[in-house]
Every structure is written in C-alpha cells, then in structure tokens.
C-alpha cells in the first residue's frame, strides 16, 4: 500500500514537471514568467557556488533563529512553571501581540543590528518564538489536573516536577508548535533579507524580481523550501525520540 502511494506521488510530480516544461516552451512570455525545469536546472549547476553559499547562510539564520526562539520560550516557560500566576498574565498579552504582523519589524531590526547575520537571526528568533511558546503553554495548561495532584501528593521539588511531569507531558504540543515555527523561521530570515542583505536567498529572490531573472527565482524558491523541509524532517526525527509514547 505504502509503495503504491509513493509511486502515485512520483507520477503526479513527474506529470507536473513535464507539463511545466511544455507550457514554458510554448512561448517566450511563459518562459520569462515561470522559467522551465531544464533551464532552472542548468542555472543551478552553473551557479552552484553562489546558490549553495546563499542557501547555507539563510539556513544558518533560520536554524539559529529557531534554536534561539525555542530556547527563549523554554526559558520563559520554566519561569512560568515556577510561578504559574505569571503565565496567566503573559498569555493574554502574548496572544494580543500576535495581532501585529511581526514581519513589519524586519526593517527595524536591520536598522538596529545592521546588514549582517544578526538582524536576520533576530527576526527569525522573534517570529519562531510565538508558536513554540503558545503551544508549549497550552500543552502545560492541558496536563491532567489529577496527574498534577498525584505528583503534589509526594511533595517533590520543582526540578523533579519539571523534568518528570511538566516537560514530558507538554512535549506533544511543544513539538506541534516547533513544526509551525520551522517554516516560519525560514520566512522570517528571508523577509529580513529582503530589507537588506549582502548574501542570502532572500536577497536572490529580491534581485530576481528586479532583474527579471526567473531561473534565479525558481532556484531560490526550491532551495528555501528545501531548508524548511530539512528542518521539519530533523524536528520530526527528534519528536519521534521524545514522544514515542504517543504512538
């Protein structure tokens, strides 16, 4: 059954690629709009050096952003586990702050931290922080009250409660948030690069629009989704290790 599925998906993708190639070859307008698989491929191999460099830079920004964002949310959550009242204070405030499209802060970060990596990492950190934190907090609040009561019966110290009860039981929602953030941090890094960068996929995408360079656009598009898929894959692998009990 599973093999059959893989076959169907491959056929579907192949059909899309072939029809894309055919449509692009019919007229020059289409070629300028959407490029074509063969042209993009040859562009990719000719400019492999530049493109891989840009991918690595953007990847580093996104991954570091996600790591910092996750680290930040874990730190704040640990604080909230010690003082649960602050969570009730923080959650509405953070939910309210979600109304602001965080992307608009990208120019501000470029002004603040300059054109280098730091402004992009800051953007990716900020954008990936909220989903992780909100899901983590929801998971923490949804822990069965009887289990919390049972734990309190034995009066363990806070470290034991966090390590053996709060963290393991809120892991499923934490990872759900992390998966959302994996893609969001790539978006954050790329948008921050739009506003000004020396190197990176975001800069490539921006240039491709200015130069009317569809091959560069298609390559950057696929490479940026590659970063997202890679991060998602790593997170799913980690998740399978930590929440084995849910399956």
């Amino acid at each position: 059954m599973k093999n059959n599925n893989t076959l169907h998906i491959s056929i579907f993708v192949l059909v899309i690629l072939i029809s894309w190639e055919i449509i692009a070859s019919t007229s020059q307008t289409f070629r300028l709009l959407i490029s074509s698989p063969t042209l993009s491929c040859s562009y990719f191999f000719n400019n492999f050096q530049n493109l891989s460099e840009a991918t690595v830079i953007t990847g580093i920004e996104a991954i570091l952003g996600l790591i910092f964002g996750t680290f930040l949310s874990i730190t704040i959550m640990i604080g909230c586990m010690y003082f649960p009242k602050y969570l009730d204070f923080l959650l509405p405030l953070l939910s309210l702050s979600q109304v602001v499209p965080i992307i608009v802060l990208a120019p501000f970060f470029v002004i603040l931290f300059g054109m280098g990596l730091i402004s992009k990492i800051a953007m990716a950190t900020l954008i990936s922080f909220f989903p992780v934190f909100l899901n983590f907090a929801t998971g923490f609040k949804q822990i069965d009250p009887s289990i919390v009561m049972l734990t309190n019966l034995y009066k363990p110290d806070m470290k034991f409660k966090i390590l053996h009860v709060f963290f393991p039981l809120s892991m499923p929602s934490f990872f759900a948030g992390l998966k959302i953030s994996a893609n969001l941090s790539v978006i954050g890094a790329i948008v921050a690069e739009f506003t000004g960068a020396n190197i990176g996929l975001g800069k490539n995408l921006y240039l491709s629009a200015l130069r009317l360079d569809p091959e560069l656009m298609v390559c950057s598009l696929f490479l940026s989704s590659f970063i997202g898929v890679f991060m998602y894959y790593v997170i799913v692998r980690i998740e399978n290790r930590f929440v084995k009990w849910l399956r």
Partner: protein
C-alpha cells in the same frame, strides 16, 4: 497510622453548603467507608482530608490528622491517594509508573520491591507496556500498587473501582487485601457500591444529600475478609438493608 478527628466541619463552595457540621473520628489502623448518593460531597470530604487540592470554598470547624492540619500532614509525605481514574503517567511504562512515587519521594529505588509489587498485581509480563496498551482493569491494578509502593500511613481511595466490571472488582479487592496486609495504615474508601464498602471496611458511614452523616454502621468481622465477595450480601444482610433503606429515603427526601 494516623488518627483522624473531624469536629463540626462545614464546607461551602460558591455559597452552596456541601458539608454540614460533620463529626468523624477514625481510629488508628482501621478501614472506613463513606457511602452516599452522587453529588453528596463525599469526594469533597476526602479531598479536604487529603489536603492535595487548594482550598476554593469557605470552611469552618477543623480536620486533624495526628493533631496536624491536612496540609501539614501532607508534608510528612505519608499520604496516598487513589483517584477515580487510574491517572497513570502516559509517557511511562508500568514499571516506571510504579517507580514514580519512589523517585518523587527520593526514596531508594529498590528493584526487588518493585518486582515484588509487579508480582503481587500479576503484571510481571507487562512491565514494559505503556498505559495505553493496557486494559482498564490492568491500569487500575497498576494505580493500586502505585499507591501502596511508598508504604503510606494514610490511604485515601476515591471510588477507584467504580468503572470496572464485577470480575475485575473481585480481583482488585483481593489485590487490595494482599497489599493492605503488608503495611499498617488507615484507609478511607469513598464509594457508592454498598457491597464493596461492607466487604472492605470496619465501619461504614452514610453521607446524606444534606451534607451530614445520617448513619454509622459497625461491621463486626475481622479484616481482611477471606470469604468470597458474593457472601457479603448474606453475612451482612441487615447492614446492607439498613444502608439501602437510608440511601433510598435520602434520595426520596431530596427529590421532594
């Protein structure tokens, strides 16, 4: 083995009186059952005695366990509470769930004693199973052993067997007797199953809808009872009828 004294205890929640001037003395090393219709406040009383739930309502009178407040007694870490649901930690397997109280209490994690308890509840073959792979009866057995493994002095059971069929119930009463024989502790059982109360306890209190105790029945047979469960109805027929009558009257009065 704590002695529990409750004097003139009332508890109100959201302006609704739940417990009304309750007096209760429980001697050392006895088993007491509290029977009542649903919603009469018997679980609330048990939770107040345990001190695990933060106080939400207004109370008057006092509860003393070994001359201590429930919260103070809880700090001595000698209480064990069994909930209506098994409340096993879903991320731990059977063995780890049994070890959980030992780890939480910072007690030495003795492999032999854990294995002993696994043998007692007959789940040696399932010790690496996660709770979601176990049946309801097995989960309750694990929860039962878990509440005994820390050798508590005060055992509070909040309708732990109510969701099981009669076969599992008989099995679990035997397991409870086996586990209880090893430690000496005071046991309070909250239930709506009269047979269960008569089979497992020395004294049965009936809590009315008004929040007062409306009957106290002493059962003059030694614990643990070794005769089969179905004999309870014959041996304690008078007590059974009395409790039944009281509950029925209480229900009738409440509806009127």
């Amino acid at each position: 083995m704590p002695e529990i004294n409750i004097y003139n205890y009332s508890y109100k929640y959201a302006a609704k009186p739940i417990l009304n001037k309750i007096d209760l003395d429980i001697n050392v090393n006895t088993s007491v059952a509290i029977v009542g219709l649903s919603g009469c406040g018997k679980s609330t009383l048990l939770k107040r005695i345990s001190g695990i739930e933060p106080k939400l309502g207004f109370e008057s009178g006092n509860i003393q366990i070994d001359k201590m407040l429930p919260e103070q007694y809880l700090d001595t870490k000698q209480t064990s509470f069994m909930f209506q649901e098994p409340t096993l930690l879903p991320n731990l397997n059977v063995k780890e769930n049994l070890e959980f109280p030992l780890n939480a209490l910072n007690l030495p994690n003795n492999e032999i004693s854990v294995n002993h308890y696994l043998d007692l509840i007959g789940l040696q073959d399932f010790k690496y199973f996660l709770p979601n792979k176990l049946s309801g009866g097995m989960k309750t057995r694990v929860a039962l052993a878990r509440s005994f493994i820390s050798k508590p002095k005060l055992l509070l059971l909040d309708e732990p067997f109510s969701s099981l069929d009669i076969g599992w119930q008989i099995d679990l009463y035997n397991k409870l007797n086996l586990l209880k024989a090893e430690i000496s502790s005071t046991l309070i059982l909250v239930t709506h199953n009269i047979i269960e109360a008569l089979y497992l306890c020395n004294t049965v209190y009936v809590l009315g809808k008004s929040g007062e105790f409306i009957q106290k029945i002493q059962i003059n047979q030694d614990l643990p009872r070794t005769y089969p469960l179905k004999e309870t109805a014959f041996r304690s027929k008078i007590e059974f009828d009395l409790i039944w009558q009281t509950l029925e009257t209480d229900k009738f009065q409440y509806e009127k």
